[in-house]
């Protein structure tokens, strides 16, 4: 069991390309850490540095209390699951799982014992004599996991392992991975571009963009209190409404956008935003539709079953979205009034996107 | 009664007269062979009303620098434009056989060695020349019988010779002069042309000198090999008959090689190799001639052109240091000492049976090989035609090119000239012999084993082609004197 510490980790490719621009991260022992961000954000490069496939340009990496910067991947006590699983096509499932033991020249009887044990855990005992090509997507996933955990690594690295699965299987595997994490109690570092995966699985999430760390927090912390507009819009489905406008204080604070105005209680608005051009971020569940507030027209309805997404506009083509109870019925063309729940508003600086408190 | 008798006499007289004038009219006018050929060609063109006649010659590429000027001359004389297509001599037999199937007539005259005749005649590619000869009256006087016999096959004439290419032996006169004393002290006679193959080997042994040695006051920076000769596949068969000293088959086509005489021949043929350069089994003319010219061998059994090559080549180190000898004798099948000089190549001319105008092609051959025109070719410095007529002995141009001692020697040697095997499938017979000689020289099999192998291989070929027909052809060629030797009376 081990913690992971990254100190000001930088990776440059050549002179001009900075893939990772100084990451500081502490993953505590047994934690499930998800690194998330859009493609090109540096998350995979960070993972590759931890695994040892890439050498950092500067900075320090520790696993436990050992500096691992110059250790071979195989000597870092890691396990890794790859995006395309990277099962060895010419070996049987048994030999794939046993690979880590074979290279250590462990005696045959022990290999058999440990493989069959891990195969039972992963429910793939019936596949052992097959070739990877003969396994389904979910089975192959389990084989890859089995191959990784058989050497009992202190740290498990996963590089978008679920991306090749279909939607249903992906959701099932999320639960499976969570369960595995509970059982193994080892440290997980999980890279994904899928915010939902991050939300559902992580103990903590590190959000990256363009090589920089944007926020490190628990899933709910990130959801509720995004440090900037990028994080705010990256998480949540549907995407957070962003309304450019101005906060004015003529007695009571007022938000003025091009198409509507809205007044709020004084404590609902951070002081630093007053008198500034801002972007107002509101998640759909924090938009209320009722008798009060600004006037708008319903343009589009997306029923989700238990809830319904209502897209509306205030005379322009920028739609806002609200999430309402499925019982409430709307249809395009309905004239409505809308408002924002006081605790559900995020104020972002127009220039920097930083959250205003 | 008397009247009738007289009238009959007169009638007969008239008939004889008419007939004789008719016969006389069939021979083309002209004092010389060449004139008759030219007139024959002109008459043919006139009779067939040919406009700008064109013919083609399939030419051994070796002659590409010497033949074309004679083709131009022929055009001036007769108006016949004779082009040429050139191939290496190893490729031409296949071209001839392909013509047997394709029958294109694209070659009119074919230039090659006599050994292609049996297969080509079998396939029907060669035109018998006898009918044309009756009109053109060629003249072969002064050509020795062994050479002349090669012109015909199964009683018909197919080929006109222009090359006395029978093998000869050349020795280094400078080395012999230096070593004369020592040699005489040892063998009781001065070194010179050896009488027998055994004596040649004895000389090879004596003169064989390692690199760096000083002998007879000569310092040898290079090794001096006692001998060099053709011992590779495709060449051994051209020399072996000199060692056989008799026929290769009896009158029923049973091979005579698996006999005490045959085994002796194989042993003598292969044992001298130890005094030859180690590479000799892989060598053909392009290696042997320069090696001889470089002065690294004492003796060379070869085509006769080797001497001219070593005298004229600017890089040669042995100019004027060669002694030309006839082929040494062996104790042949008859038990007597005989000299046999196989005609190892020998260029000559044939007419394609599928030619549109075979008779016209024939006149070119007659002209070009005629006694005067032929001697011009033999004297041509760029050519590879070797002396073969008695007239060459007095022809100044020929003597200038070939030197008098050589011409004298080769004309003497021509008395012993014999043909190689003139029966169908001969290349296959040759190959069996070559392969087994190679095996003996490499030390893989004994001479006795080789004799057995060759006997078996030859019988197999004879049976495959048809023993009956082979016997017929073989007897005819023996009878023609092509091999000098005749069947032993006991056979």
């Amino acid at each position: 069991m081990a913690s992971i510490t990254l100190q000001n980790l930088v990776k440059k490719f050549g002179e001009t390309v900075t893939a990772v621009a100084g990451v500081d991260l502490d993953v505590s022992d047994g934690e499930f850490m998800v690194v998330v961000g859009p493609s090109g954000c540096g998350k995979t490069t960070t993972l590759n540095m931890i695994s040892g496939f890439e050498e950092p340009t500067s900075g320090t990496m520790l696993i436990g209390d050992r500096v691992v910067n110059h250790l071979e991947p195989g000597d870092r006590g890691l396990g890794m699951v790859f995006q395309d699983l990277a099962l060895f096509p010419h070996m049987t499932v048994f030999e794939n799982i046993a690979f880590g033991l074979r290279v250590d020249k462990i005696v045959d009887t022990e290999v058999k014992e440990r493989v069959s044990k891990v195969a039972t855990t992963m429910k793939i005992s019936h596949l052992l004599s097959k070739k990877p090509a003969q396994c389904s997507g979910g089975e192959a996933q389990r084989v890859a996991l089995a191959r990784t955990i058989i050497t009992q690594p202190q740290v498990l690295l996963m590089d978008e392992p679920l991306s090749s699965l279909d939607a249903k299987l992906r959701i099932e595997m999320r639960t499976e991975l969570k369960r595995l994490h509970e059982e193994l109690k080892s440290t997980f570092v999980y890279v994904t571009h899928d915010q939902a995966e991050a939300m559902t699985m992580a103990d903590r999430i590190m959000v990256m963009d363009r090589g920089y760390v944007q926020q490190i927090d628990t899933p709910l912390g990130i959801y509720r209190k995004p440090t900037n507009q990028f994080v705010g819009t990256f998480f949540g489905q549907p995407t957070m409404n962003i309304i450019p406008g101005r906060v004015e204080n003529g007695g009571s604070p007022k938000f003025v956008s091009e198409h509507f105005e809205m007044s709020f209680a004084a404590d609902a608005i951070p002081g630093s935003s007053i008198g500034k051009e801002i972007n107002l971020g509101v998640r759909s569940e924090n938009v209320s539709i009722g008798d009060e507030g600004a006037a708008a027209e319903v343009r589009l309805i997306e029923p989700l079953g238990d809830e319904t997404l209502v897209f509306f506009s205030c005379g322009n083509e920028e739609f806002l979205v609200a999430k309402v109870d499925a019982e409430r019925e709307f249809s395009p063309g309905n004239q409505i009034r809308f408002g924002f729940l006081p605790g559900g508003m995020h104020f972002f600086d127009v220039e920097s996107g930083v959250r205003l408190e | 009664m008397k009247r009738i008798f007289l009238a009959t006499l007169i009638l007969m007289g008239i008939t004889v007269f008419v007939a004789s004038t008719a016969i006389a009219a069939m021979v083309h006018p002209g004092k010389t062979v060449e004139e008759r050929a030219i007139n024959g060609a002109k008459a043919y063109i006139k009779k067939h009303n040919l406009k700008k006649p064109k013919q083609t010659m399939l030419l051994i590429s070796l002659f590409k620098n010497s033949q074309p000027k004679y083709l131009r001359q022929w055009k001036k004389l007769t108006g016949v434009e004779m082009g040429s297509i050139q191939y290496g001599y190893t490729d031409i037999p296949a071209k001839i056989m392909a013509e047997a199937v394709a029958k294109t007539g694209q070659y009119d005259v074919i230039n090659h060695f006599p050994y292609v005749i049996p297969d080509a005649v079998g396939a029907g590619t060669l035109q018998p020349l006898d009918a044309y000869m009756a009109k053109g009256k060629p003249d072969f006087t002064g050509i020795d019988s062994g050479l002349l016999a090669q012109q015909s096959y199964k009683g018909k004439t197919y080929w006109f010779i222009l090359d006395g290419d029978h093998i000869a032996l050349f020795l280094r006169s400078d080395v012999m002069k230096a070593a004369a004393k020592e040699y005489k002290a040892k063998f009781g006679k001065a070194p010179g042309c050896p009488d027998t193959m055994a004596e040649w080997e004895q000389m090879a042994k004596f003169f064989h000198t390692k690199k760096g040695q000083t002998r007879w006051g000569m310092k040898f920076k290079q090794p001096l090999y006692g001998a060099q000769a053709y011992r590779s596949i495709n060449f051994s068969y051209r020399h072996f008959p000199a060692y056989m000293g008799g026929l290769l088959f009896d009158k029923n086509m049973n091979p005579l090689i698996n006999s005490p005489n045959g085994i002796r021949a194989i042993k003598e043929f292969t044992s001298i190799v130890k005094y030859m350069p180690p590479d000799v089994q892989g060598w053909g003319t392009p290696q042997l001639y320069p090696h001889w010219g470089s002065g690294r061998a004492f003796s060379f059994m070869s085509f006769p052109s080797a001497m001219g090559y070593a005298n004229r080549n600017p890089k040669s180190k042995i100019k004027g240091h060669q002694l030309a000898c006839p082929v040494p004798a062996v104790k042949g099948a008859s038990g007597k000492m005989v000299r046999r000089a196989p005609q190892a190549a020998g260029t000559g001319y044939m007419v394609n049976a599928h030619s549109k105008h075979p008779e016209l092609a024939y006149y070119f051959i007659q002209w070009f090989t005629g006694p005067t025109q032929g001697d011009i070719a033999i004297a041509d410095p760029a050519g590879f035609w070797d002396p073969m007529r008695m007239s060459n002995l007095t022809n100044k141009a020929v003597l200038a090119k070939h030197t008098e001692p050589f011409v004298k020697m080769t004309m003497k040697n021509a008395k012993n000239a014999i043909s190689l095997l003139m029966i169908e499938g001969n290349y296959e017979y040759f190959n069996v012999l070559d392969k087994n000689m190679a095996q003996v020289m490499q030390g893989n099999i004994s001479a006795e084993q080789a004799a057995k192998n060759v006997e078996k291989g030859w019988n197999r070929i004879t049976d495959d082609i048809g023993r009956k027909e082979q016997i017929k052809a073989w007897r005819a060629s023996v009878a023609s004197g092509a091999y000098i030797d005749k069947f032993a009376p006991t056979n």
């Binding site: 890691l78 990277a86 690979f99 290279v103 | 053909g284 495959d464």
Partner: protein, 316 residues
């Protein structure tokens, strides 16, 4: 009359334009090409192989001979010698070509400065016309020539006469031919292996590294098995060619010294074009076709089997 022709033409084009006819046109072309190019010569060869025909007799005199030609071929010692020699040459040459091609590809597949230039240089021998290559080697192999000069420090140190008679010593000549073939065709195996190496998925290497495999283990347990299809391709392509070895033995040694470099192709050439044994040659080539065909099909079977496994995996 003219009208009738136009009408006919119209109906012909109409007939051709019919869907079921039109669809067949490509097949007809393929079949016709097949017939003309392959089937007819093949059937003719079989026919000739059943005749008794030497070119020194007119074809009109050829007669039916049954399978006797085949018996003759199979009982000809030289045929078997030449065949054995050919397998020896092909086997040795292809093995060396695989080895050198593999090593070169291993060195060249990683990125380094001037890699492209090296690769281009390695590929040059393959582009050389075989006849030219053979001629060059006949120069190189001269016993006082460049090869022996280069080798002389080694040969002299070993106490061997440095003037190795490459073309006239029976065993050296065999190696001369093998080496010339290796020089020319290592390029091809190099190219095949280079693409094989380039196609190796990086992730598999990474997976093995993370599992603690050493470079040696990665090579033998992961890379090598994955390169098997490339190896099979190289073996089959090269063997097919090497078994037909002809030009080098003609150009360098003309089958000699003795018969030590007479390959089966050379043997056939001599039987047909020197000895005029057309039907014997036809029978021998049919027999060889079956022998080599069986070998090659077995090779292709192995290749396809290997490929299926790998390709199924890729489709995942």
């Amino acid at each position: 009359m003219a009208q009738a022709t136009i009408k006919e033409r119209k109906s012909l084009s109409a007939w051709l334009a019919q869907e079921k006819v039109f669809r067949l046109i490509p097949f007809i072309m393929v079949e016709a090409t097949f017939l003309l190019l392959l089937a007819i010569p093949f059937i003719l060869t079989i026919y000739i192989s059943l005749l008794k025909w030497r070119a020194n007799r007119p074809f009109e005199q050829a007669y039916f001979h049954g399978l006797l030609n085949y018996v003759r071929v199979l009982t000809t010692e030289d045929f078997w010698w030449a065949l054995g020699r050919t397998f020896y040459f092909a086997g040795t040459a292809v093995m060396l070509e695989l080895l050198f091609g593999f090593l070169l590809a291993m060195l060249a597949y990683k990125q380094f400065r001037g890699r492209r230039i090296y690769i281009t240089i390695f590929l040059v021998p393959m582009m050389v016309v075989p006849v030219v290559g053979g001629y060059n080697f006949s120069m190189i192999y001269i016993d006082s020539g460049p090869l022996n000069q280069i080798l002389s420090p080694i040969t002299e140190a070993m106490g061997v006469n440095p003037r190795i008679r490459w073309l006239s010593h029976p065993i050296a000549a065999q190696w001369a031919i093998i080496l010339a073939d290796v020089w020319q065709w290592t390029s091809l195996t190099f190219l095949i292996f280079l693409s094989g190496f380039a196609a190796l998925p990086q992730q598999l290497t990474n997976a093995a590294r993370v599992l603690g495999a050493s470079r040696w283990q990665i090579f033998w347990k992961v890379h090598f098995p994955l390169l098997k299809p490339a190896i099979m391709i190289a073996v089959i392509i090269r063997s097919m060619e090497a078994l037909k070895l002809f030009d080098l033995s003609v150009l360098l040694t003309f089958g000699g010294p003795g018969t030590s470099t007479e390959t089966i192709a050379f043997f056939l050439w001599r039987q047909v074009w020197q000895f005029n044994k057309y039907s014997f040659g036809a029978a021998a080539s049919i027999l060889l076709l079956f022998m080599f065909g069986t070998l090659i099909f077995y090779g292709i079977y192995l290749l396809v089997r290997e490929r299926d496994i790998v390709e199924e995996e890729r489709m995942e």
